[in-house]
């Protein structure tokens, strides 16, 4: 169970980030590490599950992606201001004019007070110096400020600041660097140490997340579902995604709500499984922003699935997961956030 769980989690987390596949054909692990590394391990769990629905449900995104050949994150998923910026850059054809536009953004960037030019605010891996600062406004939207000694980098920072400032944490965390391709600035997206733009975005996302976590720790849990709510002590969660699911699922059995029942019905009907386990583990994610508000009243957002069925015969792990996701599309669009899937044939059990 653990092995297949870990492989499904691995695949799930790999599939999260589309540019992983498309741009880095050579080596996967470094890019995976690059995405995960700056974010502390216990927080990695949250980010992993948060991102699945937007990427896995690809039939939706394929049609709306402006770049037809590659599976980029659709522009509609970006915060509105960032969408505008991307469209603006796309309308400017000449490279030199694009640079002028970038420099223009940089010039109009609000200067960052030097007391904020600290080590925690510095973007790693930039040949130039870049600092980013993040704080919440009254409505718990993230506000950014940034600066750089290189005017081009400052322009890029300004772009991100303008595009992401004033938005909620969930929206910011959903952004992938794909949009940089759409800008047409030829900023390299390889996860090399020196990719300042990628690191800038990641630092901004990391800061948004940590603002959220700090705010959460300040308030008590506030979910409204009937499931037993477990105080999620983020500090003590074990490092691997796998172990979290394993250890906590045994001791906290939760009765299935309506969504859980629907999932069970659907999978039973379509896959005719020999074994089927549907486990609601939403309580483990209770309290973080994605759950609050967007799941609807039932709060059923995270499930562990174990399906043993002949329908998986001859299919790769990826295909099996795809099958399950396809069947549960409706749920994914109406508040189901994440699935952890074990898909086996009877022979493999």
């Amino acid at each position: 169970m653990a092995a297949s769980m870990s492989s499904s989690c691995y695949l799930s987390s790999l599939r999260l980030i589309p540019f992983n596949r498309t741009f880095f054909s050579s080596v996967n692990p470094p890019s995976k590490n690059l995405i995960l590394r700056p974010i502390p391990s216990f927080l990695r769990t949250i980010v992993t599950f948060l991102k699945i629905p937007t990427v896995i449900v690809s039939p939706l995104s394929a049609s709306s992606s402006p770049s037809s050949s590659v599976d980029l994150q659709p522009i509609e998923e970006l915060p509105p201001k960032l969408q505008e910026i991307v469209k603006l850059f796309q309308s400017v054809q000449e490279p030199k004019a694009k640079y002028e536009q970038l420099l223009f953004y940089g010039k109009n960037l609000k200067p960052l007070d030097s007391r904020f030019k600290t080590r925690e605010n510095k973007v790693e891996g930039c040949v130039s110096q870049v600092w980013v600062r993040a704080f919440f406004d009254e409505e718990r939207n993230v506000v950014y400020e940034a600066d750089s000694d290189s005017v081009l980098t400052k322009g890029l920072a300004a772009l991100l600041v303008n595009g992401l400032s004033g938005r909620p944490v969930t929206e910011i965390l959903r952004v992938t660097p794909d949009f940089a391709v759409l800008l047409g600035l030829q900023q390299s997206l390889t996860p090399s140490r020196n990719n300042g733009f990628l690191n800038m975005l990641k630092l901004m996302q990391k800061k948004a997340l940590s603002l959220e976590v700090k705010a959460e720790e300040g308030t008590s849990e506030s979910t409204t579902d009937e499931a037993s709510v477990v105080e999620v002590d983020l500090e003590s969660k074990p490092p691997s995604v796998v172990e979290v699911e394993e250890s906590e699922s045994v001791s906290n059995v939760v009765a299935l709500g309506s969504r859980g029942m629907r999932i069970r019905e659907k999978l039973e009907k379509e896959l005719n499984p020999v074994e089927l386990e549907v486990e609601d583990v939403s309580y483990q994610h209770a309290g973080h922003a994605a759950v609050r508000g967007s799941a609807g009243a039932d709060g059923e957002t995270h499930f562990n699935l174990r399906v043993v069925s002949d329908a998986f015969q001859g299919k790769s792990l990826v295909k099996r997961h795809r099958m399950v996701y396809d069947l549960l599309q409706e749920e994914l669009q109406s508040g189901l956030h994440a699935l952890s899937i074990v898909a086996k044939t009877p022979a493999e059990v």
Binding site: E100, F104, V127, S128, Q129, S150
Partner: protein
């Protein structure tokens, strides 16, 4: 066929079947040989009278230089980071894999004997290139960095210990060293307690030789310095430094990465104890470099990496080690790469290192003068003069413009490839008071026109960014 016999004597012994089988290949090869021999004959016949420079003639051998990037012709000015490889070197590598790839030193069969011969021949070529007295003084490594680490771990750990004296042994470096000649000594010093002292720059922006001389004392065990600086373009008087060091019984390690590719380097004349260089900076492939060490030093050094090749007999509880250079070449070496490095040595020797150096001195002066004439440009290192010859590279900064912006724009808008950053010399940049610099570096396949394109592009870039201020 004649070309084959002349240029690659090793192929005389190749089985005739191999050559007849690869008919299409030989056509391609004979074409490129024709190209190569014509370029070389041009070099020998018309050297005195024709106006075509070495750069123009050599360019023909480098296909990679004839391309467009971002809509402009490529102007490659980053040879200090890595050099381009001529067709002859690429062919040598291809030939190895295509005709006689086999593991070396242990095999009995024909292919492995051939591979071994070529591999050891390459060692001899490198030895000859730097005038080492014996090819056994050449240890093949992955690159110069590994070569320095080899000396640090093998020689350094056993020789930089306090021993009988109460005071700690001293290692003398300069602030202008490449990280590869700083960090390994820091690691050793942490383990052995050796003290590192750094020579700073004088007002000409070269390492202060007088300061170096004064620093050398009985406590000094090692002086590890560059021959030519990859940032300042200055050279150090290695011969004199070796004399001073040997007076107190200290050894000298020379980082010759920027000198071996560009000028005659004669280890007999220099009399250095250790010398390192990288293949990829001298028209050879990446993945191979070498350490030159005097025989008596290498013989006394314990192994660096353990494994096959470097052993004599292996038992369960102990092993005995091979003689140098094998002692320091554990595992299967980069065979094809070593052979291609040998081919690079041949290629460079055919042109003649003195000729290459002479051409580059001229190019260096031209680069410096035209760059210095651009307003607000600050070039690091000494001014060229009668007594001071700069290498053909310039690290510089433009007032109010970050080098990264500069390099990005030069590349995107003009196809000019330069480097920006600290060039693996952070202490030097800190000393000079800057975060980063831009660097344009030339090799014998560059021309005056390349320099002109660079300057035009630079002026355009500066005015573009200035218009935003």
């Amino acid at each position: 066929m004649e070309g084959v016999a002349m240029k690659l004597p090793s192929f005389k012994s190749l089985a005739p079947t191999a050559i007849s089988v690869a008919s299409t290949f030989s056509i391609r090869r004979s074409l490129s040989f024709a190209r190569r021999s014509s370029s070389l004959s041009a070099a020998t016949i018309t050297a005195d009278s024709e106006p075509v420079s070495l750069g123009h003639r050599a360019r023909k051998d480098f296909r990679i230089l004839h391309q467009e990037v971002n809509g402009s012709k490529l102007v490659y000015l980053d040879s200090a980071a890595t050099s381009q490889k001529p067709a002859a070197v690429l062919e040598a590598l291809q030939n190895y894999y295509e005709f006689y790839n086999s593991n070396v030193h242990r095999g009995i069969h024909y292919l492995s004997a051939k591979a071994t011969d070529e591999f050891e021949l390459a060692r001899k070529k490198v030895a000859r290139f730097i005038n080492a007295s014996d090819s056994r003084e050449i240890v093949f490594t992955r690159n110069a960095t590994e070569a320095i680490n080899l000396v640090a771990y093998s020689w350094g750990l056993s020789n930089l210990k306090p021993g009988d004296e109460v005071c700690a042994p001293l290692v003398i470096l300069t602030v202008a060293e490449h990280h590869s000649c700083i960090v390994p000594w820091q690691i050793v010093s942490q383990k052995t307690g050796a003290v590192l002292k750094f020579v700073t720059l004088n007002e000409d922006e070269v390492p202060d030789i007088d300061m170096l001389r004064e620093m050398i004392s009985e406590k000094t065990k090692l002086v590890a310095v560059h021959h030519v600086s990859n940032v300042l373009a200055s050279s150090l008087p290695i011969e004199e430094i070796v004399v001073w060091a040997h007076e107190v019984g200290a050894k000298v390690l020379v980082d010759a990465c920027q000198s071996v590719p560009h000028m005659v380097v004669d280890v007999q004349k220099l009399n250095a104890d250790f010398l390192v260089a990288s293949s990829h900076k001298m028209c050879g492939p990446t993945g191979i470099g070498f350490l030159y060490g005097k025989s008596d030093l290498l013989l006394a050094m314990p192994p660096f990496l353990g494994g096959g090749e470097m052993i004599s007999d292996v038992f369960l509880d102990h092993s005995t080690y091979a003689e140098p250079p094998s002692r320091f070449e554990a595992g299967t070496p980069a065979i094809g790469e070593a052979i291609a490095l040998g081919a690079a040595c041949d290629y460079l020797s055919d042109i003649g290192m003195p000729k290459i150096h002479e051409y580059e001195v001229e190019l260096a002066k031209y680069l410096y003068e035209t760059l210095a004439s651009v307003p607000d440009v600050r070039i690091y290192g000494p001014r060229p003069s009668e007594s001071v010859q700069r290498a053909a590279l310039c690290s510089f900064n433009v007032e109010g413009l970050h080098p990264t912006d500069l390099a990005t724009f030069l590349d995107q808008q003009h196809g000019v490839a330069i480097r920006s950053g600290h060039h693996c010399a952070q202490p030097l940049h800190r000393y000079l008071g800057v975060n980063a610099s831009a660097r344009a570096s030339l090799y014998f396949y560059n021309t005056k026109e390349d320099v002109d394109s660079f300057i035009v592009a630079l002026a355009d870039t500066v005015s573009f960014f200035n218009s935003f201020k």
